[in-house]
Symmetry: C2
Subunit: 543 residues, 2 copies
């Protein structure tokens, strides 16, 4: 089941358990939630602005060997643009030389007998060459076509300086003159982007001896993260710009090791805390505008990972005060999720609910979700210990042991040395990763299982970077450092070698046109959950 | 030759005569021109704003019997719109119940699980039903397609109140939701137009006993004029929004009899005076934005009529001070135009110059232009007398006599009782009208010639309202009041009966799809020069 299908179905809100939220009635009190949202509001960062000038005029060239089948060829230096007189049907594609999340402005100057009509100009903003090559009119995706970044503006008076009012995410801007009049042409000039980010400088460069490819991967990771860091950690600045638990958890890890904007993570923790479902379950995502509001979708594994997000933060920022204050939120997720352990002791997400794990059709998520829950109970246990919640710490310890035993009994195929999932005994990378991360597998078992899955041709491979991250993390946990590095070099390095400025939401080397939304035009090409090499290369222990 | 062709050719500026401008060196001094422009600037009116609420939701229905082959059918009262949930492909056409030049605002309210994507909405503003029926993508006209009033906007945050930044000219607004997302729909509400005009109330209603059709024609005339009266007398608020001498002269006449905004005419007189060609020749039109500037086209008959514009104004506003100050401008037009009288005494516009007279292919303009010049010399003579320029008054008198004699010798076909034009001896309504208005024909001759032209099947008929006005004016001058009234009732009444809210730039009852620009979508349907029945029914003597 994929995200798109979920967007068409009823919200998990309909499945809300009926048990009261929190032992302490103050915990879900509206005033408490409002206070948490006020904390989040106070932490809203002022964005850093950087002016970016365009590099060159380019044109897309069809090239089956390239990502999405297009590459860019240089036409002229950007300064040449101002020399061209443009009229109906003329235009140019501008390459800013790097990815920008921010604003765009330009000037339009007329030349001719007189400006005797309005002027109409179309702008198309693109993250990748393919968005510049075709027409968005052919879009066939399931997500809103309003995500496609195009604008048509009509200017009554020339000369004009145009500051486009919306924010865009782009490296390329296609500017097309749709209409002047027969007696005048226009020149486009003064092109400027204002890049926005709440990231500051990277405080921890890679050591000098790091191999070239890994350095390049790190640069792209940092650029990805920087562009996603706005007034929250957005999942993607082009789409969908929201704050998602699963995504922010990974962004936060990369951030602690580099930009170290702790307050932005704290803000995000408080936003989720202040916007729970009526029973205290945290939504998978929140909206910032027009005022903070919870998203309409709930993801079981994302809610579980709130505990990890909080624990990681407290450790990185040395902020145990926030951990104590938000501990009830993490605890509440464990309470709710504990109900889903079935009579056999296996975590069974309610029918109709959304367990993410990975963008991958056909993946049996039972074992992986069981693993995410055990992993999250471990984070919650550490939190409980840190905040002095001894009862919960003990309770989680007991549950971890039970769930581990069940998992080993249910999922471990000792003959093959792998963990399986579901009635078909499906072997997947996802299952092995989460068995290892949850410590259901010992490091030795985990290492064997991870290797085995990689070598089994019919094992279900990852669909995207999110799961690749957890697979690499599991490898590192199990001592497979060389293999982990090889995987990072082949997967993230594959994107870099295919021309990525920023890492993508979806990347399957064997299926470059893959889109979970039915059209790669709407994929995000600067996506939060893909930025983790910056973390893996530092705290992650990959180097 | 039509306006479109001119827009492709070199400006008449290339044909500027070389004689110095004005006997008095101060007259074309840059400081003088700058001062005149400052006078114009000070006279710029503050516009009156009226809020207009929509009347109903309508749909276009193909109907070969209707103007441009479409009529509107009511779908629902406007209030119903807010009850509809709209998503991709949905929309509605709103009828404001009357013509508006001004701004448009509306609200967009989401309904659904959450606003998880931007929303894209297309707006199309139309003066007439046909603009709502098709797609502007099919536009084939020669003028800029940027005139077609359409916008696509993308909203990142809902709910939103949208104040469209541009000014539009419309009765209808088509609102199409191009994209929401699969989980939300939108409601459109709060639709409001803000009508702008520099016209105040009509100070001279028609007498109570005026026939119904004439009353309706008058209403439409006043609505046309009101919508064209902005910070100048625009020729059309949809297109091309400029101040043209030929158009403002007719608007001013209707204005003196009704809204009596004398300062607006004065402003226009000063704009032309302050923006002449280097030799003092006034441009056919001026631009207001970004700062007052002369248009790039020159029209011989329009320049001649500056004298009439100034004289009419001085008489109506009793402002002979302005007449004295701007008299050199009128005089200068006569000086320049006098050079174009050829060795046979016939006015011969230079090759490549533009003589308008009417929108009509195939019209021989020689005699009519000769008539316009004589008519204008008469206005200039009256001005000269009023300001004490006796030398010029006498000179113009002598020239009028000479040109009249030549015209009678060259153009009058005594046998048929008509005036002809050109080597083919073409008989046209235009020629008869201007022979009568110039008093080259006596009232008796003129009456006979006007009637004869109307009855001659192969006489070249008028192409549009501008010439119809002068033809009716000529009839009234020659005592053909009944016939004049019949013509107004059939021509302007024809537009009213075809559903006109405002009078059109172009109307040929026999060719409803007529457009001088190759596509009726770009015709102006609220056009200055069509508003003259309001004048004809008052000072004009039609009642």
């Amino acid at each position: 089941m994929n995200r798109r299908q979920f967007l068409h179905t009823a919200s998990l809100a309909a499945l809300a358990p009926t048990i009261a939220w929190g032992a302490n009635p103050a915990e879900n009190h509206p005033e408490q939630l409002a206070r948490w949202l006020r904390v989040a509001e106070k932490l809203k960062p002022k964005l850093n602005e950087t002016t970016v000038t365009p590099l060159k005029v380019v044109k897309p060239v069809a090239d089956g060997a390239q990502f999405l089948r297009w590459r860019m060829e240089t036409v002229a230096p950007a300064a040449k643009l101002g020399e061209w007189l443009l009229r109906d049907g003329d235009g140019a594609i501008i390459d800013f030389g790097g990815y920008v999340t921010g604003h765009f402005r330009f000037t339009v100057t007329p030349e001719g007998q007189g400006v005797d009509s309005p002027t109409r100009i179309k702008l198309t903003f693109g993250e990748v060459p393919a968005e510049m090559a075709g027409s968005f009119a052919d879009y066939k995706g399931g997500l809103s076509r309003a995500w496609l970044q195009e604008e048509v503006i009509t200017l009554d008076v020339l000369p004009a300086t145009i500051q486009m009012p919306r924010r865009y995410a782009f490296r390329y801007v296609k500017m097309e003159v749709l209409a002047t009049s027969p007696v005048f042409s226009v020149r486009l000039g003064g092109l400027r982007a204002t890049a926005l980010t709440s990231a500051g400088p990277n405080k921890s460069p890679l050591p000098g001896g790091a191999p070239e490819l890994l350095r390049r991967i790190d640069e792209v990771s940092l650029r990805t993260l920087r562009n996603c860091m706005q007034t929250v950690f957005e999942d993607g600045p082009k789409r969908d710009r929201r704050l998602w638990i699963g995504d922010v958890r990974l962004q936060a890890l990369a951030n602690y090791d580099t930009f170290q904007n702790y307050d932005l993570v704290k803000r995000c923790l408080y936003l989720f805390a202040g916007l729970p479902r009526e029973d205290g379950f945290v939504p998978a995502c929140v909206f910032e505008q027009p005022k903070p509001a919870r998203g309409h979708v709930y993801i079981i594994d994302y809610a579980a990972l709130y505990a990890a997000l909080l624990l990681d933060y407290a450790r990185a920022a040395h902020d145990w005060k926030t951990a104590r204050e938000l501990w009830p939120v993490a605890r509440r997720q464990m309470e709710i999720l504990s109900q889903y352990v079935d009579k056999n002791g296996v975590f069974s997400a309610p029918a109709g609910s959304w367990v993410f794990i990975d963008w991958k059709d056909g993946l049996d998520r039972t074992a992986a979700m069981h693993g995410v829950f055990v992993y999250s109970l471990r984070q919650a246990q550490a939190l409980a210990q840190a905040v002095g919640a001894d009862r919960e710490a003990a309770e989680y310890g007991k549950r971890i042991a039970e769930l581990t035993a069940v998992a080993r009994a249910q999922f471990l195929d000792s003959t093959r040395g792998v963990f399986t999932s579901g009635p078909q005994k499906q072997v997947s990378w996802a299952t092995q990763a989460w068995m290892a991360l949850a410590e259901i597998a010992s490091p030795t078992e985990g290492a064997a299982a991870l290797r085995a899955a990689q070598n089994l041709p019919d094992a279900v491979r990852p669909g995207g970077p999110y799961l690749y991250h957890y697979f690499v993390a599991a490898m590192l946990k199990c001592g497979l450092k060389t293999e982990a590095r090889e995987l990072v070099q082949s997967y993230w390095g594959g994107m870099v070698n295919a021309g990525a400025d920023t890492f993508w939401e979806v990347y399957d080397p064997k299926n470059p046109m893959l889109s979970p939304y039915g059209d790669p035009m709407v994929n995000s090409y600067c996506h939060a959950w893909s930025c983790t090499p910056a973390y893996l290369l530092r705290s992650g222990g990959l180097l």
